[in-house]
Symmetry: D3
Subunit: 159 residues, 6 copies
């Protein structure tokens, strides 16, 4: 079997792959994603004040907490004790998009791409939840890895 399909054994059964031979290095991953919202949601989020509440503040907490749970949500994902997690947001009022960007860091034998992606998706799902009474047509999109460092494949920045 192709070595790259390492989430399966020779019989094709799913397996949490053995990473014990890999080196412990500092590894980081950064991911991003966006949610498309209507003008009313964008206005409230961007000009958020006491009256409208802090949608992005709640979404940030949710994203950070979810990064810590990636291993319990994704079946073949290794448990990891992450060392750092940040989630930030950018708002594009013209394109009516709120963008979430996460950064996760660990010193481990395996990377933190899934932690970074989980942080982004749960942060965006939280925005969806808190705004769904206003906008029923929101869409989560463009969720992808931005960059990773550490590990055998070295440092990579994605287009």
């Amino acid at each position: 079997m192709d070595e790259k399909w390492n989430h399966f054994d020779e019989a094709g059964n799913a397996v949490m792959v053995d990473v014990s031979e890999k080196a412990v290095t500092v590894r980081t991953a950064s991911a991003a994603g966006a949610i498309r919202v209507n003008a009313e949601v964008m206005d409230a989020v961007v000009h958020g004040n006491v009256k409208k509440g802090d949608v992005l503040g709640v979404a940030r907490v949710a994203g950070i907490m979810a990064a810590k749970q990636a291993w319990s949500l994704i079946p073949m994902c290794h448990p990891l004790c992450i060392r750092k997690c940040a989630v930030d947001f950018e708002t594009d009022e013209e394109k009516l998009e709120i963008r979430a960007i996460s950064t996760v860091k660990v010193e481990e034998k395996t990377g933190v791409e899934m932690e970074a992606l989980t942080a982004v998706t749960v942060a965006l799902l939280t925005i969806y939840d808190m705004c769904k009474a206003i906008d029923r047509g929101m869409e989560i999109t463009d969720v992808r890895l931005l960059a990773k460092t550490g590990g055998r494949s070295g440092d990579i920045t994605y287009g």
Copy 2:
């Protein structure tokens, strides 16, 4: 304050809104999303056999289990005992997209949009995890609600 911003109290503080006045009805929600993959991933997933293992089978289990955890991941989301959850997949070999579709059902005072969306996103994240050694440029996209039934807003199908 605008009643629609009901995830915040009058002072703008986040709150899990009171749904006790709402009616218990059968409510369903269906959501979809896609992951863009390269040809090698698509080939393995579509012509999946014992050798390559059952990527979608694992992703389906992950999505269903995640639907049950939506309330623990999304801060202001109400805990619910869902009655049904299914996750299916469609593959578009030309567009190189795998699409996940979820359906969730409940008899409750509040809807299951977030459960359906969480099922889809975690199913797609699981595909990402199991194929990331092959394709480093995958992207999760088009995550949105397809339809909902039950509740005060009645039955809605999204475009």
Copy 3:
């Protein structure tokens, strides 16, 4: 497809089955299981005193807490708000067996067999964990349903 194989849809994909058409009734389930231990473990557990600590007390708490988590451990198991859970133990000093018996109660559309079985197995695993430094040959055995009441199939006692 055979209706009894209802954990799969027509395409053979795993699904959390729709129980919304079933009746809400009081449902109970009782399960049992045993762990075979050596004489040293049996002596300590049976004549347990302050010096040896309360192995069964810890195992009881673990079993009750696990019953509440059955739905999060078993993929197609429905989330339920159980109304009662008890775990008891019997020790057979001749056969060198400690037997765990659980009872779970709910008012729901689906039964609590899995909750009762999960309580028993986690209680026995906890005994294993706390005694494994003494006895390396312990074995968990005879885990099965004792009885269930409520639901369409009525009251059943197993042999």
Copy 4:
């Protein structure tokens, strides 16, 4: 107090024992267990095809995910970041038994017996859950450690 009863302090109170003085080594554990089923279940599982669905595939995922949760289920069990987990199945059509075998690996100060045993029991409970509409007399049995390596007690294979 007997040093082997190290899950209790001198007063007999349960304690999560201090493992900080132990050596970090590669440690593995392998466990097995079986579920006795009737002929109808065995036939469906062995000749499993699209129509009947992949019972063992779902059970494998459940077992691997449960190995990661052993520390949260078993009160005095230390949290661990496991490096590998596999769950396999053997079917004995004559004895009408499905056997689950797990292997878990870690580099830590304490072993992974409980992770291996938890993987096996939750995999078997999942088979139970998915087949319980067909067979009401299933029984989980013979759950035990097969082998362990690493740690002070060295490599051990159980009879």
Copy 5:
């Protein structure tokens, strides 16, 4: 045995008590607690601005999410699907105390005191965590029930 000690059976063993005979009513509980901080912490929290970040906002989210987990933390606590949860804060700059107040609502056979108390304690622990680099002498105090409504004991306000 005294009926009031209903968390134990006749043999003195801990049990999750049977609440199935109780009436489903709307039940609320409100709890409060405080954390004593030094002047530097109080100043930052009260005059919190972008530079200092929103300690109370994060603590509020943590408290609400913890209310949903009370049943998984407290062994004999019944799982419940809460309908509403709010956590608010008051700051007393003279006494150097930050006070958390929670309100939880449910329609169930058992009350939500533990959910309200868990929300308060985890909110206060979160403040502790985020300020512990500044003040090493913080103290959580005065955690108690303020009021409850619904249930057999009727509406009660505590002094």
Copy 6:
């Protein structure tokens, strides 16, 4: 920004701080807290026998299990694999107080204060839960750090 407010980035957004530059050392933390109860509760707990059941035994298990979950409850708290956890109790029959004391140990880049404090608070909440039918005026108080060792700030004993 003040370096001590390290749970926030320069823009004031909450962040799980980067601890990867810190040294791995053995770190311990000890915390304490008390619950004020009425005479009936104190009598039952102190003279606890089979009839009344082992309130403190259940609370100890709950506290130890909660220490392992501190990182999942407290948003910016780092996940850690704790090496040891103990929870003890002292009863002061005159002051009608039950005091919980926890000790947690780890070899990590960050301390275990939050784990020790979480163990104490959940142990006290469990006592509250099991005795709330007897005493409606209980109060949790004096929850604070007793001592910590390891880490840059060295060994500290609190007054």
